[in-house]
Amino acid sequence: MKQALDFEKPVIDLRSKIDELKKLTKDSDIDLTSEITTLETRLEKLEKDIYGNLNPWDRVQIARHSDRPTTLDYIELLFTDFIEFYGDRLFGDDEAIVSGIAKYKGNPVTIVGHQRGKNTKDNITRNFGMPHPEGYRKALRHMKQANKFNRPIISFIDTKGAYPGKAAEERGQSEAIARNLIEMAGFKVPIVCIVIGEGGSGGALALGVGDHIHMLENSTYSVISPEGAAALLWKDSTKAKQAAESLKISSYDLKQLNVIDEIIPEPRGGAHRDVKLQASYIDQVLSDSLATLKQLNQEELLEQRWEKYKSMGEYIEIDANEE
């Protein structure tokens, strides 16, 4: 049983009740089939109600779910011949980022992505998916290689943010992120970015300058965590739920703000409920993306990338003469 989130308790309770009745029917002579059918209809309705009306905060909980599939899970399901490579050649290897080469439907690709852990021990090795500069520089090294050998880059975004530590600052966290942004801006190969969990600020963006940006339905992408925003704005981190709404961080919000291209649907209840099904949904969008981008020559690709980013943002141009 996957760990239940607060808002889905009613569903979980009802489901376990049904399971109990089923067991009873099986183990004894009492036939409860009709009761079970009634309850299953009710469960279906309840699930639709709850999962169909998720508020931003519920989605934050799903995006952070400890069982939520990670970059390596999707790599295994979507690619063949994946080989992971390590190190930035400058300082060390950062396990909060994985990167390497693989084949996607027979074609070579470079993959980079944040990597969270699934349990405490794993998370300590992975530093909770929060990279140091060497992680970004490792990813950059592999992306440069992709550019050289003309392989598309596929990036999986899943981090609370770049690690806010002393060593990270000393080694130039800012420069590492900034460098990735500007290099990704200029690569002459297609770049597809997929936000699979949390897209936390600059630390997420450092793998996120792409030709297409997609988001899993329940993932989030934000300039600051809801808790951080609440602490700054209202000096009260318990107002995170409110901040999650104000900040507009859901896939639907980002689609509306024209920041992302596609929302990739999730199995009911979230990606962790059915990882294979989730991978197949990603597969569809990813293959479409790559097919579309493959049709552009290098010049068109760069021009389209420029047009895409140039139009991001909302502002008002006032007519100075009217003042």
């Binding site: 801006a185 420029w306 991001m312």
Partner: protein, 286 residues
């Protein structure tokens, strides 16, 4: 007094005129934020807001920066009339903007334009930390992007003075995307051979430090400027230890190899001139 009661002469309190009010107390004197010594503001202004005693570099407005750098009358401003929308409908955002517009007489946290520095024509973007802590929202991103594009089409160098607390939270992910937007513009500019000089002033943190501020062909800073990605308090909470006094100062970044040079405000014009001269002479005689 009884005598006054009989006096025909009416008594008035003297109320200073609006103009006189502006001239007098507030701002006549200025206390140095570094050594606490008190100076005439005029004296401090004449010294480019650098303390004559302890060399502390005080906040410098975009206007003061322009006056201190550009040849007289050479500066012309671009895109002054772009103002922030409230794309997320964020509570209280418009009021905060209006307040800062009044306070600073600026429309947002950056001034862009072109002018000449000892005869060398450059495009420039100067951030002003008085407006919303110099935070970067759509307006800042758009104005900087346009300035870089103008520099590219005119084939002139691009100089940016950063002063920013980071992304503008009230514009959410759109402010984050300004980091990508300006990066794509910088890549186009630098790929075409354009010279970009970044000068980080106090403070340059968060999303601004993690984007255009750090990718100049030269990255400089003013003395004592706070420069870093994450805030000191957040780092102290994360690593549970106290950070050294000089953590994230310009001098600290220089020591850690993150800057080309720390340049005092008084030497800024001269140093920039030398660099511009070297770059413009490139290849002439060989």
């Amino acid at each position: 007094m009884l005598k006054d009661f009989f006096s025909k002469k009416k008594k008035y309190a003297s109320i200073p005129s609006e103009k006189a009010k502006q001239d007098i107390p507030e701002g006549l004197m200025q206390k140095c934020e570094g050594c606490q010594k008190i100076y005439y503001r005029k004296e401090m202004n004449k010294n480019l807001q650098v303390c004559p005693n302890c060399d502390h570099h005080h906040q410098f407005s975009a206007e003061e920066r322009i006056t201190s750098l550009f040849d007289e009358g050479s500066f012309s401003e671009w895109d002054k009339d772009i103002i922030s929308a409230n794309p997320l409908g964020f509570p209280d955002y418009e009021d905060k903007l209006e307040k800062d517009r009044k306070k600073t007489n600026l429309n947002d946290a950056v001034v862009t334009g072109k002018g000449t520095i000892n005869g060398f024509e450059v495009a420039v973007a100067i951030m002003d930390a008085r407006f919303r802590m110099g935070s970067m929202g759509s307006v800042v991103g758009e104005k900087i992007t346009r300035a870089i594009e103008n520099a590219r089409t005119a084939s002139i160098p691009f100089i940016i003075f950063t002063a920013s607390g980071g992304a503008r939270m009230q514009e959410g992910v759109l402010s984050l995307m300004q980091m990508s937007k300006t990066s794509v513009a910088i890549d186009r500019f630098q790929s075409s051979g354009g010279l970009m000089i970044s000068i980080m002033t106090n403070p340059t943190t968060g999303g601004v430090s993690a984007s255009f501020a750090s990718v100049g062909d030269y990255n400089f800073a003013e003395p004592g400027a706070l420069i870093g990605f994450a805030g000191r308090r957040i780092i102290e909470q994360t690593i549970r230890e106290k950070l050294p006094e000089d953590f994230q100062t310009a001098e600290f970044q220089l020591k850690h190899g993150q800057l080309d040079k720390v340049i005092p405000r008084h030497q800024m014009k001269e140093t920039l001139t030398t660099i511009l001269d070297i770059h413009s002479s490139r290849g002439k005689d060989n």
